[in-house]
């Protein structure tokens, strides 16, 4: 019966082709370092799931942000775990992204024919850093506020456009409610959208081209 439904669906959707293309494709023999990409993907999923759960209670205004974070941590069942996974997951994501990148560099995986995969990867790194920067402010505690104040002012040190950049980042000359709303908006809408788009391209290319094989030391004269 199940098989019948599956066949019926496959005839119309064709998912067995997709299954074969993604899961049954052959991969060169690789070592454990090659799991770093998947590990990064896992943390991204972890961040997305816990992040979505956090938005159910989090309120992005200076009046309520701190209280809502406190509420999530202390009152909601498993709230501490959700927030903990998101918090530590953020650090893990940065570390894994960088390690993944180092693996790609050291083993020359960015070379032909995977250059475009590499470009999307660099953008993904910047997005991850952007997540870290915007997310740091959201708990609205002392380290969030002052860290972001210093961090955004560093952006303002750029010549000529610095002041403009600072105004855009903060939504005014000072760190305020506008800044919080802005960081929140970027953190939950702009960056995730960009992440999904670029990650989609990144994954598509990885599957289509296949992951690189472990390079052998060329016999040089």
């Amino acid at each position: 019966m199940v098989l019948k439904i599956a066949n019926w669906l496959d005839e119309r959707v064709g998912w067995s082709g997709v299954w074969e293309a993604i899961f049954l494709r052959k991969i060169p023999k690789v070592n454990w370092f090659y799991t770093l990409g998947s590990a990064t993907l896992f943390t991204a999923v972890n961040q997305a799931v816990t992040g979505i759960l956090l938005t159910l209670y989090y309120v992005p205004t200076p009046d309520h942000a701190y209280d809502s974070v406190q509420y999530i941590t202390t009152q909601i069942p498993m709230g501490w775990l959700i927030r903990g996974l998101h918090h530590w997951g953020a650090s893990a994501m940065v570390v894994l992204t960088v390690l993944h990148m180092l693996r790609v560099i050291l083993l020359g995986a960015y070379k032909y024919p995977r250059e475009v995969t590499w470009f999307t990867g660099v953008f993904l790194l910047l997005i991850v850093v952007g997540f870290g920067f915007t997310g740091y402010l959201l708990p609205w505690d002392q380290k969030a506020y002052w860290g972001s104040a210093v961090g955004s002012s560093i952006a303002g040190a750029a010549p000529v456009i610095g002041e403009w950049v600072l105004r855009v980042v903060r939504g005014g000359s000072d760190l305020s409610a506008v800044t919080l709303a802005r960081f929140y908006g970027v953190h939950v809408w702009v960056l995730p959208a960009s992440l999904i788009l670029l990650l989609g391209i990144h994954m598509y290319l990885v599957i289509k081209i296949g992951i690189s094989a472990v390079p052998q030391r060329e016999d040089e004269a």
Partner: protein, 704 residues
């Protein structure tokens, strides 16, 4: 990588793939294991360490030491190695360059070799960067000192370590002429908080000194700290400090102390460092300690910077002292000379000094060792050194700071300008302290206070600027910004806003005052004075708006049209519609009032109503308060009686009746004199006082 190599690679890859394993289950298994390990690790961290949440954000708590997320620490640390203008390198140049390099890596490394050992350049560079970032991160964590251990034993160094070192590292390079006290107090520097809330003025001074002269701090600790606390000496009189250093054992307060001869113990260079540390080159403080006694809050000075430098540097032949032998008896001269040579003698000398000398010398007694010499100088008067030769006392850094501050102060700070503008334009409706009151434009309306903390906290500078510039026509407030036809340019509005903003720290009004809400009936001339005069001038001669006395105005406007213009306003001009605000009767009265104004020829300004009623009652008191202290019996112009005012002076007549422009008195009080300095030397009189004197001259300088 050429075509051939590309093809080879693809073939090799195909072979690798055939020898390989399927993604599911082999690879996916590995991925799942790693993901599980990561998840467990994260959950363990969340469980055992928890998720830190500090105190609620407090924007006013500047004592908090900001730290970014750990993976940004290396960048933060990098910043410390690029002080001042080089900051841009660390902030913008290096990260941008790194990202660009990273992005274009496939184009930079085009070799077909892939093994890390076959590509030593890339490998070394990347591993080098990793080591560098790790090093910076570790360094950053190590250099943030636990607050309890910061700079033990040296209070100033401790202040520095606690408050500045986190961002600035061990030393700060400061460009010459920087007013460091201001920067520390106000936090004008990017990302730097205003410290004035947390540190006392003395502490800020000590910090400024420490930053400019860390060597001085060490010297202070070595030589002075046994007896002196640093806060007791900082910002004290630089003349005293210099004397103490130069005279060594001969310096009276040091006479009984067991100290070395400073000139042997401390080199000239070190003495400068020590002085810079003790009296940090901070113009405002230097001015307050050294100049304010004689010059008041600021010196009116309109010349070039070089001129001012010379004047301060060489000290003073810039004021004439009258020959006292003409006014004082021999006994009095003796008493004065005695007092000057021995200030502890508090006989007649002190009294005489207070009476005759203090108005110029302040309580800084010009001491002299030689009685005869002192007596001679006092008796003969003339150009003598009234101002110390500051060039000998101040260090170069202090001198620069003093000059730039004096120049700046001479131009008036935005706050003072704003205050004056507020008094001229706003107090009519908003009261002296922005406390508000009955709205003259709308009978039963109360203008709410604009100086409460509530009002100021809920409106940012931009909003205040817009309100001031555009006015609030619905409430009877005309636009004041020149862009909307008002009298003030953008800078003036900004100054005004700055003044209004200055209330926020200490609001003069925190509750709306009790205001009598009974309807106010104003006569038409009162309405004119409060509302129309803002633009049409107090005499209807026009200012922003047209003259109401102009014959053309009358011929072009029928009474009906005047009535309608008042009611409906005038498009494209700042003339707002008053119809909603004033009753028809009031407007009618106002129209009659305007029609009753005497017509004057176009362009001819009628004799303004004199701002004085009588010489004896209005003008003389000003002379007595502002001029006679010096211009009494000291020679030169004499301001004690009407006759003396009109006849005396080195270039008599000082007053030319009916001719304001050529009267030396008028020139000197408004600061347009062709020779000598502005009078009074400590600063201009108020505008009202000046106007009374000018009006008096214009009216023919009568003796009434």
């Amino acid at each position: 990588m050429n075509k051939q190599e590309q093809k080879e690679y693809l073939e090799q890859y195909k072979r690798d793939k055939e020898k390989g394993v399927p993604f599911y289950p082999d690879i996916l298994f590995k991925d799942a294991v790693i993901s599980l390990v990561i998840f467990l690790a994260l959950a363990a961290l969340a469980y055992f360490i928890g998720t830190p949440l500090e105190e609620r954000a407090n924007p006013s708590d500047t004592s908090y030491t900001p730290k970014p997320e750990w993976y940004f620490l290396f960048l933060f640390q990098l910043l410390k190695y690029f002080p001042g203008e080089l900051e841009v390198l660390a902030v913008v140049a290096i990260p941008t360059l790194a990202i660009i390099l990273l992005f274009f890596l496939p184009f930079l490394d085009r070799n077909s070799k892939r093994h890390p050992l076959s590509r030593p350049w890339v490998t070394v560079l990347v591993l080098g960067s990793v080591v560098g970032v790790l090093f910076l991160t570790v360094q950053s964590i190590r250099e943030t000192p636990p607050p309890s251990e910061a700079g033990q034993g040296d209070p100033v160094a401790a202040l520095y370590t606690e408050n500045c070192a986190v961002c600035h590292g061990g030393t700060i390079l400061v460009p010459e002429g920087t007013n460091l006290h201001d920067i520390i107090a106000q936090g004008t520097h990017e990302g730097m908080p205003a410290w004035s809330g947390d540190l006392t003025s003395d502490e800020i001074d000590a910090l400024a000194g420490f930053v400019l002269s860390p060597g001085g701090n060490a010297l202070f600790k070595e030589f002075c700290s046994a007896c002196h606390e640093s806060s007791e000496l900082v910002a004290s009189d630089p003349i005293e400090l210099k004397m103490a250093l130069d005279e060594g054992l001969a310096y009276a307060p040091h006479a009984d102390v067991n100290i070395p001869e400073w000139s042997d113990a401390i080199s000239q260079q070190e003495r400068t460092a020590l002085l810079n540390f003790l009296v940090a080159p901070d113009g405002q403080r230097l001015f307050a300690t050294n100049c304010a006694q004689c010059h008041g809050r600021s010196v009116s000075f309109a010349g070039e910077e070089a001129e001012l430098r010379l004047l301060i540097n060489q000290g003073g032949l810039h004021l004439e002292m009258p020959p006292w032998r003409e006014t004082l008896s021999n006994d009095q001269l003796d008493a004065l000379a005695g007092y000057v040579t021995n200030p502890s003698d508090t006989g007649d000398g002190l009294e005489l000094f207070t009476q005759y000398c203090a108005s110029c010398h302040g309580d800084r007694i010009p001491t002299m060792d030689d009685f005869d010499q002192a007596r001679e100088i006092i008796a003969s008067g003339g150009a003598h050194e009234t101002m110390p030769v500051w060039g000998e006392v101040l260090t170069a850094e202090q001198f620069d700071a003093l000059v730039s501050y004096t120049l700046e102060a001479a131009q008036g700070t935005p706050l003072e300008v704003g205050q004056e503008l507020f008094a001229q334009n706003c107090t009519i409706c908003h009261g002296d302290f922005g406390e508000g009151g009955p709205n003259p434009a709308r009978p039963d309306d109360i203008i709410a206070p604009i100086s409460t903390s509530e009002y100021l906290k809920t409106r940012d500078d931009h909003t205040l600027f817009q309100i001031t510039a555009q006015g609030q026509p619905n409430f009877g407030m005309s636009p004041f910004g020149s862009a909307y036809g008002g009298p003030l340019d953008d800078d003036q509005v900004t100054a005004l806003v700055a003044f209004i903003r200055s209330w926020e720290a200490d609001p003069p009004v925190d509750l709306p005052p009790e205001v009598n809400t009974s309807s106010i009936s104003l006569s038409s001339d009162e309405v004119y004075e409060q509302l129309c005069a803002q633009c049409h001038g107090p005499d209807g001669l026009g200012d922003v708006g047209p003259s109401l006395r102009d014959p053309g105005f009358r011929t072009n406007n029928t009474p009906q049209e005047i009535f309608e213009t008042i009611s409906n306003g005038h498009e494209a001009t700042p003339m707002i519609s008053w119809g909603d605000l004033l009753s028809a009767d009031t407007i009618q009265d106002l129209t009659d009032f305007i029609l009753a104004l005497e017509i004057t020829e176009a362009g001819v300004i009628p004799q303004p109503t004199p701002g004085f009623a009588s010489f004896a009652e209005d003008v003389m008191p000003i002379f007595e308060a502002k001029c006679v202290p010096c211009h009494g019996s000291m020679g030169g112009w004499d301001g004690t009686t009407y006759d003396a005012v009109m006849t005396t002076g080195d270039n008599a007549p000082t007053v030319i009746p009916n001719d304001v422009e050529n009267s030396i008195l008028a020139q000197k009080i408004i600061g347009e004199q062709t020779y000598g300095a502005i009078m009074p030397p400590a600063g201009k009189m108020t505008n009202a006082e000046i106007q009374i004197i000018l009006d008096w001259i214009a009216a023919g300088a009568p003796d009434n």
